[in-house]
């Protein structure tokens, strides 16, 4: 089924009695290969020691160089823009492997923003896109920027931040002579920074990217949806990685003569985390597929996915940490790295109250009620 070729799924609540849908989660052989390649890559180049080493900045430049070399940015660009034309399902497969090892790189931000730039069709956007693809500059997004400053999750490593200002799509540029980027320490070791937009505007450190009005709003909405989707992918990876650590510990650690994972209090708590992770992963694939085939309809799934992946990641990390007992709460443990990032990345995946309210509003509207 190709993009836009017919009606796409609705939520089961809204399904008509005579509506029948496929239900295939099967990955292509190329996608399985993609998963294996990136699983091996991250396993080799991002062991926990590298994550620890990058805690202060939240960024591993050497790892990012290697990813650029693997064309992680151009992968998701259309062929017309010199990319490989990878679909969002492909990209979430990569994202999961990235999150599984807590890779300190702005994957979701940079990949989604590059796709945004490729849709602007302006010289400025193309120039920045080329830098992003080549790895000489990092570009991320910050959504609406009515305020004078904005706290940007990947702001400490970004060279440019795309925002929508006065109805125009604008790229705010970091400049050495302007003190406008202030990194902020944070629990999740995100490369977070305050960007002083007023200071940058005053210093004329911005570039018009072309689109304005409705087109700008649409592009920003699409880009935010994709950023949330890719962040959700990294969260699924984090959840799976955290669970794996907990299961390994519970299988080896003994008490009362047996591995502690044999006791139901432990095994059942890990099973509940596994249930959340499996559901999150399948929902991730389905949502990515929907974003590829009908972005408008997919918005409801992105909202649901955000909640479910935030839940799965925080549950898996907290459960796994708890299973470790005292060994889990010392700073030497790897699981506390997962725990802090689970909460951190979850905050980048939307707002629970707003998301759940929007889910309800969308379904009610589709049911014909205001």
């Amino acid at each position: 089924m190709s993009a836009g070729s017919g009606p796409v799924v609705v939520h089961p609540i809204l399904e008509h009695e005579m509506s029948f849908t496929r239900n295939s989660y099967a990955l292509e052989a190329t996608q399985l290969e993609l998963r294996d390649v990136f699983h091996d890559f991250f396993g080799k180049h991002c062991p926990p020691e590298r994550v620890r080493a990058a805690e202060a900045t939240g960024f591993d430049n050497e790892l990012w160089r290697r990813l650029i070399g693997l064309e992680v940015i151009s992968m998701g660009l259309p062929e017309s823009a010199g990319g490989a034309g990878a679909c969002l399902v492909d990209l979430v497969i990569v994202g999961e492997q990235c999150g599984r090892v807590l890779a300190p790189v702005p994957f979701a931000e940079a990949v989604s923003t590059a796709r945004l730039l490729s849709r602007c069709r302006s010289a400025a956007a193309d120039s920045w896109l080329a830098s992003a693809v080549g790895g000489t500059r990092i570009v991320v997004q910050a959504g609406d920027s009515a305020g004078s400053t904005v706290l940007v999750a990947a702001g400490a490593v970004a060279d440019g931040v795309v925002t929508c200002h006065d109805g125009h799509l604008v790229l705010m540029q970091r400049a050495l002579h302007v003190d406008a980027v202030r990194p902020r320490a944070n629990q999740a070791s995100l490369p977070m920074a305050v960007w002083d937009l007023d200071a940058l505007r005053a210093a004329e450190c911005s570039a018009e990217l072309g689109p304005d009005g409705d087109r700008a709003r649409t592009l920003v909405a699409d880009a935010q949806r994709e950023r949330r989707l890719l962040t959700a992918a990294t969260l699924v990876g984090l959840a799976a990685g955290a669970l794996e650590i907990g299961v390994a510990f519970a299988s080896g650690r003994e008490a009362f003569g047996v591995p502690i994972g044999a006791f139901q209090a432990i095994s059942h708590s890990l099973v509940d985390a596994a249930i959340a992770v499996e559901g999150a992963r399948h929902l991730l694939w389905k949502t990515a597929w929907m974003c590829d085939h009908d972005p408008q309809a997919a918005q409801l799934w992105v909202l649901m996915l955000s909640r479910q992946t935030a839940h799965a990641a925080t549950l898996a990390a907290a459960t796994s940490l708890h299973v470790h007992g005292g060994a889990g709460v010392v700073m030497e443990s790897d699981i506390q790295l997962f725990f802090r990032r689970a909460a951190g990345w979850a905050t980048l995946c939307g707002d629970p109250v707003a998301d759940l309210r929007e889910i309800t509003a969308k379904v009610l509207a589709a049911m014909g009620r205001p």
Binding site: E17, S24, A26, L303, L364, M367, R369
Partner: protein
């Protein structure tokens, strides 16, 4: 990967219309209301009508009494039956028992029983659980004593759903009490019209009617034995796996978490539709619809999200999740609706035709039937997550479950 809406071919469209016609005729609103009141788990008229069309065993060839349906038509049939709320308990136990018979019964016994099953004339209840054992199924104590060429059955089976209208009971009995626990069991297909069989009704919180069956010196020809003597545990193992939703399907059409989970999701969908409708049409103290109240909207959103999460959770994990989610939301929404929500269907002023009331009572059993969520978690722990087995003296050697 593909989740797209399917454009039915003309033939498939006609088939779907045939199915809905059958349902319109044999599963009326009165039938459904009666089922909700009596909880029989079976509609004889509908079942026979399906049998006439080969739709009881739709994947069997016409020569065997089936309809030789392709995967798409089987999917259409199963989906429409589920969406209409067609009673399914006896169809389900019959299908499970039939799988066991197909694999283990003698040709003679198969010839005796299976044509009637396909025709919708013969249904089979499951005689697994006893008053003294459910999750620990291998501890069954119903005695099978060989006397000449007959097995004599003494004991009782519990939650033998459908026994009161089924022709047979697939019974797990202890034939060799001296043998180790899991090696002393034999499976026998017991005709329920034999002397010595006493069936007594049991009514559940969820409004379902099940039974306790007493066997007092019931004499069954050994020709009704299914599989080798002492191998009863192995005979049932594959059926129990099927019950857990592990049967593979590569049609790319089926839900990924099995029949029971799909039923629970269907109950969640009905609850959600009622909750959304109620919140959208009921005003709060400020005169605005409750659906606009943040706390209510958040709860509704969580229910909508949980439905989709359940559908995307595979196998037994999906069943565990669906049961727990249904129980939680059923309680939460009944509380939210308030005391008017306590009135059952039929009572003047019952909210949303008593859906909140019904779902709250129905939900509890979902964490028990077809394997308790604790047993399923044990199975998932070792088989899926890869955790170590429990200590030896508590070891559950395999997935003992009950259907009820």
């Amino acid at each position: 990967m593909d989740f797209g809406v399917i454009e039915l071919s003309r033939g498939e469209q006609l088939f779907a219309e045939n199915v809905t016609s059958l349902l319109d005729e044999h599963l009326t609103d009165e039938d459904l209301a009666l089922e909700r009141r009596r909880g029989e788990g079976h509609n004889i008229r509908l079942h026979r009508a399906m049998g006439e069309r080969g739709w009881v065993m739709p994947h069997w060839e016409p020569e065997q009494g089936g309809a030789g349906l392709d995967p798409m038509r089987r999917h259409i049939l199963a989906t429409l039956l589920r969406r209409r709320g067609a009673p399914w308990a006896s169809r389900s136990t019959t299908t499970q028992a039939t799988q066991v018979l197909e694999r283990w019964a003698s040709e003679e016994l198969k010839q005796n029983v299976l044509p009637g099953v396909a025709a919708g004339q013969v249904c089979i209840a499951l005689g697994y659980t006893e008053p003294g054992c459910g999750s620990d199924l291998a501890a069954a104590t119903t005695r099978l004593t060989l006397d000449g060429e007959d097995w004599v059955v003494n004991g009782s089976k519990m939650f033998t759903t459908g026994a009161h209208h089924c022709q047979y009971c697939l019974l797990l009995g202890r034939s060799d009490p001296g043998a180790p626990k899991h090696r002393g069991l034999t499976v026998v297909l017991v005709p329920l019209d034999l002397p010595g069989v006493e069936i007594r009704p049991i009514h559940t919180l969820g409004g379902e009617r099940t039974n306790v069956v007493f066997f007092s010196g019931v004499r069954v020809s050994a020709r009704y034995q299914v599989g080798p003597r002492t191998e009863g545990w192995s005979v049932l193992a594959s059926a129990l796996d099927a019950e857990h939703g592990e049967t593979p399907d590569d049609s790319e059409l089926q839900e990924i978490n099995g029949e029971l989970a799909s039923m629970y999701v269907e109950a969640l969908i009905r609850l959600a539709r009622a909750a959304l409708s109620w919140a959208g049409s009921t005003s709060g103290p400020d005169g605005r619809p409750l659906a606009e109240d943040s706390a209510v909207a958040v709860r509704l959103g969580q229910l909508v999200l949980d439905i989709e999460t359940c559908r995307n959770t595979p196998g037994s994990m999906g069943k565990i999740l669906a049961a727990d989610v249904l129980i939680r939301h059923a309680a939460d929404f009944l509380e939210l609706v308030g005391h008017a929500g306590l009135m059952p269907e039929g009572e003047p002023g019952a909210v949303q035709t008593g859906i909140f009331e019904w779902t709250h009572r129905y939900a509890q059993g979902t964490a028990i039937y077809g394997g308790t969520t604790e047993i399923l978690r044990n199975v998932v722990a070792t088989r899926v997550v890869g955790l170590p087995r429990p200590p030896a003296h508590h070891t559950v050697r395999s997935s003992a479950t009950v259907t009820g």
